[in-house]
Amino acid sequence: MGPAAARLRGEVRALVAEHVPPGYLGAFTGDPADLEVAQRFCRLLAERGLLCPAWPAEYGGRDASPWEQTVVREEMWAHHEPRGAQYMGVNWVGPTIMRHGTAEQRRAHLPPIARGEAIWCQGFSEPDAGSDLASLRTAARRDGADWLISGQKVWTSYAAMAGWCFLLARTSERERRQQGLTIFLVPMDAPGVEVRPIGSLLGPHHLNEVFLDDVRVGGDAVLGEVDGGWKVVQEVLSFERVGIARYARCERLLQTAPRVLGDAWDGLPAELRTRWARGLVQCRRARLLAYRVIALQGGGRVRPGDAAAYRIAVTRLDQDSAEVLMDIVGLAPPEGPGTGEARRFRLAVEDHWRYSHASTVASGSIDVQRMLLARALLAAP
């Protein structure tokens, strides 16, 4: 990755050590203080140009290489994403607005993301449109120069705290369902938007319903072309699929386990230590597959199969490592007083286990990735 990336990793780790409390499990817990940690940390990163280093300087970045962005992404996910929901703005909302937005939209939306102030949510899925996203029914109709949007979105992460929604809606009925869709940038405080949280195994804030009842937005809310939203969505998904460095958290937890267990480690069943070693190999494998996609993207080449292969490998790793880690903490000696680290580790593992179940579904089911990979393989010359 090079010396600049290594320096940056050290810098980010030092910031995490100083500003993120030990045992932090992310912004989305029942404790509002955790969200505040994330908000402060985002601003801190932003001040140092570390929130979106790979963005061009004119939008608040520092023209860094994709590898430096990768370092930030790895360190953040490994440490339970102390950027909170901001990672979405940095990973895909910003880059997509950069590519498809008007000058005015870029001016309005990019700097707040780069400053760590704006939280976005993604309004794609609907009750009847999951994997088959193009079947969605939320509709936008013209009203003079404005649009009126009505419908329902679901599973919308962080919607309750978001200022903006990156929303996909139907704008016309065409022969191919993919053709009549448009992206709207919708302020969440617009009249007619209602958010209802959905309780879940994942913890608070992850899942919400969003109801839209004749929500009025101007023509300037359209991102890209009217009826041209599907192409933009494909780009969003390709940014999103390499956006989360899940392998980094898996590796950090696996590598930490022997130290936390101390001498009890040697008493674990040999089979479990073997699964642990295999888990570390899987971490390396997923990381290298991610790097392959990033290297190709950096060279302007995109092979859709590679991103899908990476996603399949990394989401399986997420689940495999979670099972191994749960077995390890299950056999760890009881925590006495003063063993804060062991307790923090157990909580982190349990959090990882719960969330890993969603990794094969969120951002598109792993089965859709298998479809994409197979398509790429079978289409190759």
Partner: protein, 312 residues
């Protein structure tokens, strides 16, 4: 760290693949099984022509990449010749190749060749390996049992290379098995349409490709680790071996299943690639033994990565 092979190495690999095809291609493996004594004469001239014996994989990073690409092509064409072992030959012993061995009954796919071998155990004990004549092993005529006469304990630095290059051969076999499977499911019709139209078929192909691609990435990493003389090169080689053997399990099962009965026939190249994969997959260490060795080596310190210092 290099995760994509250089363009030159890849081009060299393609050139080698064409040369192997011209020298007999898919007929080479059945010939080697039938008469292991003749296989040297069939492929050695081609390898000489390709400059294989001039490569200095221990001394020159470009040559190491070229050697890996050559092994991969040999695997792709099921060459049934211990090319990786020859390319890994140790320095200064005057032998023709290096065999990594393990356990009380060492074996290697070197039957019928008039060559001198050095054997090395995983902990670096070297010896002169002599083929026991008349013994057949692993149900394959190319595998021979070895007598090893101990020499020294100076081989620790040889083991990683000796494990990594055969994994590149195996990788070539996985490439081939998947290419064959892809063509087969596109061509074979059942229920009125190509097998490739069925999602069950497509998913299996996708899963096998994830395994193959993962092994490819680790192969490039382990090669880089050997190239740069890293202290962890043996860990990296075992990590590669673990992933490559798991991938081989997944890929060959899928390839055979999707080929149906056709894939077992002598006429089917898959059956030969599959047969040729056995020595690489079970010698010197099968999957469980590989996992076990790796886990022991990793102890409590883990595998070098983003957080390896967390353990210390």
């Amino acid at each position: 760290m290099n995760i994509e092979p250089s363009g030159e190495a890849a081009e060299y690999g393609r050139q080698a693949s064409r040369a192997f095809a011209a020298a007999g291609g898919d007929r080479l493996a059945p010939l080697a099984e039938a008469e292991p004594e003749r296989r040297g004469a069939l492929v050695e001239p081609v390898l000489r022509e390709l400059g294989a014996w001039e490569l200095r994989p221990r001394d020159d990073p470009d040559d190491l990449e070229a050697a890996a690409a050559l092994c991969r092509s040999a695997g792709y064409r099921a060459l049934a010749y211990p090319l990786a072992e020859r390319l890994a030959r140790p320095a200064g012993l005057g032998t023709d190749g290096l065999l990594v061995v393990d356990g009380p009954a060492p074996r290697a796919p070197v039957a019928g060749l008039d060559l001198r071998w050095t054997a090395v155990t995983l902990d670096g004990r070297r010896g002169e390996a002599v083929v026991r004549s008349g013994e057949r092993s692993l149900d394959s005529a190319v595998v021979a049992e070895l007598d090893v006469r101990p020499l020294d304990a100076a081989g620790a630095g040889d083991v990683a290379l000796g494990l990594v290059l055969p994994c590149w051969t195996l990788l070539g076999m996985l490439d081939r098995a998947l290419d064959l499977t892809r063509s087969h499911v596109l061509a074979r019709h059942q229920f009125g349409e190509p097998l490739a139209r069925r999602q069950g078929v497509r998913f299996q192909l996708a899963d096998a490709e994830v395994e193959r691609g993962g092994a490819e990435a680790l192969a490039a990493y382990a090669l880089w680790s050997v190239q740069s003389g890293r202290a962890e090169a043996l860990d990296d080689a075992l990590a590669l071996r673990l992933a490559a053997l798991e991938a081989a399990e997944a890929v060959f099962r899928t390839a055979h299943l999707l080929h149906g009965a056709m894939g077992f026939c002598d006429e089917s190249p898959l059956s030969w690639v599959s047969r040729c994969s056995r020595p690489v997959r079970w010698l010197p260490l099968g999957l469980s033994a590989t996992r076990d060795h790796l886990a022991r080596r990793l102890g409590r310190h883990g595998l070098t990565g983003l957080f390896s210092e967390a353990a210390t």
